[in-house]
Symmetry: D2
């Protein structure tokens, strides 16, 4: 039984466990001020070419989102998100729990563009409505789609002109940057956002996201804000060491590439079998629309989620691959589709 | 150079890393619904004799405190804490950030007693003041002191009679229960509080606290509340596996015992050298008051924090031992005191 | 120049100022516990036939909404509103500022119905999303439409069955209950909601809304919650006296009737002139769609808001009448339409 | 039966009701942008000599405090208050409900001084504690005491040097400025704080406080923040007109002077009868310590609050006079004391 349920069903890449084990008995500074966290932060700064960036390691994505957004906004300021954005859909009102409204925009593909955002700014014209002050995007999006270099540049320019901060949820940034056809780099993203985060949990880490704040004014007192939300781990090195493992070599990208490659095997089978996707995802989350009868058959051998009915006889399922997905599994699924 | 800086300067007990490694490639359910988290929760329920208790694994202590307190209280309700309580002193206003006031009580030894709490209830008599609704205690306290079985029972009875919830911060509960002279058991604590947590981080885990809710009415929708605060880890098994390692054998208590035993070596030296402690701690945090000249000398060989000046020529320092403290280190410190 | 800008451009009905003046030098109890507030609350309880209802006088509508909603919900619980609902559109994120998400539903006419709400409940199926726990409706709605008796009954039944609270924003409840064709009574509304409020500000008062809580369990500690949000006025009698003036006679309904009657003059002219409304409002807010050229002409003699462009040559305007609107003004506007 | 219960037992000064009545049928702009609110704000700006100050009229004191404090602070920043401060003692956790901790300082007389504040800054030295960022004072204090010109200057200098905002709760600022021996002016206060408010409710208004923000950077988007907390009254003129009445002549100070003068009659009697006060209040709140037997006797003819037992046979009571207190009442009380 192969599982395509999510990219967090396994533990960590072995190099991470190895590094945790190797350094286990060293005594280090605490609360993220240890030598390993510092080294990992420095590697990330070098990698993105922003030597002044604030880099903070935080356990998970929802926590990172709520900390960043509530740290950057005044009480009446709101964040703009696609309707499918993680902060809107799957964080149990975490942003609102910090006092901020999420203003949503319907999209076809989970991506925000200036022309979609402008009407929201126009509509929010006075003090009886929240003041949109930040744009939240995900890359890859929750639908698996990705932003091109030009799209990020355009969003950034628009946000600057509109007095909006631009924040990118990078829970699956590894997959976004290594997807077929992707031309965006992490350095370009860093140079064209105010802050973003690098997702570890879904790309080989046990836990951990790296919040990178390139707009240094926003970095003021961030350790206070991280602590206040309960996110300053006593043994902060646990997070730093994982990012050290991911960034001391090309491991971060290699793992993401593997996730994409195994997804590619399945994607091709979807196309070749004449099926379509909900929208065109080049990353490790696929959303094929399949006949219900086929879905039932596939469920005998594979684990995946049925997302929604699309008509009387078809439904959309979600297939997720990861750094740990075996090619044999992807091929078995592809074969099952081909035989259908 | 031996460090007595804190009980979280090392990584994890080897059994924990071993278990993480052994199970690393298994695919499990996510968000804490995996088999290992379930097994660990079940072990804890059996251990405390409360088969209906809610057990939730959360990354750290501040996060556990803020989730529990904000989940259990209505907006106008407040939590009562000793002035030295962690939620008051060292959580950067985490409780207030969820909207709740912490009402504080000065104490000599960090412990709350009914006769200290009653005047607070009397003073908060009308709707122009918050309504005290919960008592927060720490065991061991932030000063290293512990509660006896009778003291817990008395607090519980008082809280019941006064319509107050009783919540125990157990960041160092292992040390409290294994301290010389301790007569409290975890089962007794569980039976005489509404909720408490079992500290993993300071007792051999990489990260992780187990929030135990024995007042089952309070457990309603807790997974929503944990998620909303960003604390529902995608790879929840990372937490569950650690508590499995701690509770599948006597490991949890053995580690705490070791921390207390090494502290005992130093405690005896303090007494024998004629020095006093700030207050009488039987656990792994010691607060000796020493001559400044001696402190300077000790700093050449040992790492520890200077907490406060007590007079012109003396200061109070904090010595913390842990499951990983080497006896040789404790003995070296004891010897240095003896020679002074 | 007649103004149809809003129903709060004037001060108060003279009876209110008279009563404030008559009682001005009496010394009364404070914070809303005075004899006049008590008497007004009692009149309201009698009027709705709910002798145990909690009745609280609060300065304004946004404040009433935020107090009620945040008092009734736990942190992870959300309120469902029409997209046009006041809490969603025009309260600057007041509800989110108390920590709660507003889940919105698009509607044609500003009204919620069970068949619109059910899909929201179905979609919110697990702890990664907020838990819908309250339905917020406005009557009259922000589009001027009203609920019938049967519609309120059906909503109430649905909410009971779905474990949802039902709360009605009654900023313009007077107009809703006296509209042509209305069959709903305040007693029926009270019997079929958990709480609602009676709008004073837009119906002849200087300030003030009466929050009525008929689900008495929800009334627990409400004075604490009102105080905490800064809404417990020291001279609470100022609010109580106004509702006394409105409910000691039929004044509350008479004023609303007048607002509706003057709107009716204009509504008929809209129809007779062959124009349509955005949606069919029987109350004191009208939304006619008019040629831009006509709008410009009308602006020379009348004050009103242009709400939105509907096509290249037409726009929707908002006309609001009130207890203080002079018939001559309404007739002048009607005439101007007729001549167009 | 004369009442000295509080300074808000009556309605408004007649000039206020007169002005409300005179202008009642005028149609004005709404939400505080009417001509009267603008005129009143302008009068206040002229009065304090700060032509750029933001002036916002808000219903009550708790609301003003919570709006100002939550608008000015980032989430991890805290406000420092005397233990007797209104925000700490009698606002039901309103500040904490906006997410901010109140850090308290014990005082003898309700007044903060640099030497009391400095140790708090020293103690809050790292990110595990909130960051003190604002000093909250009341003038007159909750104990009736007042700040001199030099004391305000010294506090201001200290706050500037320490990167602290200075905010003054002026619920009874009228009485503070007209007290015997007072040398502070409102202009001096305005020049030496970042914001303060002028209390109307306790000095002749029906409702209303004027929040004055002289640090103009803090005034950004204040109307959003006022609206979000439910404090932007639709008929905002109701507040503006009252402050117009108070500041178009010397009425504001005359009313406060009257309150102080009638208190003076009683104060002298306290002293002449050989009784002491809890602390030395020169304003309209007196806290004499009297024999319990005398208190019982006085209660037959006068209404006042018993604040606390001071020893077995004595208690402290609170006597409050106001703009509406009759001299005959004060004299009757003085006489009763003299006869004791």
């Amino acid at each position: 039984m192969f599982s395509f349920d999510s990219d967090y069903t396994e533990g960590a890449h072995p190099r991470i466990l190895e590094l945790l084990t190797e350094t286990n008995f060293e005594q280090t500074d605490v609360y993220g001020e240890d030598v390993y966290s510092n080294r990992a932060a420095e590697l990330i700064r070098q990698h993105i070419g922003k030597k002044d960036a604030g880099v903070h390691f935080i356990s998970g994505g929802t926590q990172t989102n709520l900390i960043a957004i509530s740290a950057f906004l005044r009480p009446h300021e709101a964040v703009i998100s696609a309707e499918t954005g993680h902060i809107e859909e799957h964080e149990t009102g975490a942003i609102e729990a910090t006092g901020h409204k999420v203003v949503t925009i319907p999209t076809d593909d989970g991506k925000l563009r200036p022309e979609l955002i402008q009407p929201v700014l126009t509509a929010h014209h006075f003090e009886h409505m929240v003041k949109p002050r930040m744009v939240y995007i995900s890359n890859a999006t929750e639908l698996g789609t990705i932003y091109s270099k030009d799209e990020i540049t355009a969003l950034h320019t628009f946000c600057r002109e509109s007095d909006l901060l631009l924040f990118c949820d990078g829970a699956r940034i590894g997959m976004a940057l290594t997807a077929p056809g992707a031309d965006l780099t992490m350095a370009h993203l860093a140079a064209h956002t105010d802050a973003f985060y690098i997702g570890g949990t879904k790309n080989g880490a046990l836990i951990g996201e790296a919040l990178v704040i390139t707009n240094t004014a926003l970095n003021t007192d961030m350790r206070y804000l991280i602590k206040q939300r309960g996110a300053l781990l006593a043994k902060g090195r646990v997070l730093g060491l994982q990012f050290l493992a991911l960034f001391e070599s090309n491991l971060f990208y290699d793992l993401a590439q593997h996730a994409n490659d195994t997804a590619d095997i399945i994607r091709k089978a979807i196309t070749e079998s004449g099926f379509s996707q909900l929208c065109d995802s080049p990353t490790n989350q696929l959303f094929p629309v399949l006949p219900n009868s086929l879905i039932e058959k596939l469920q005998q051998d594979f684990v995946f989620r049925v997302i929604q009915k699309t008509d009387e006889t078809h439904s959309c399922i979600r297939i997720v691959t990861s750094w740990a997905t075996q090619e044999a599994g992807a091929e078995a699924f592809a074969e099952a589709l081909a035989k259908s």
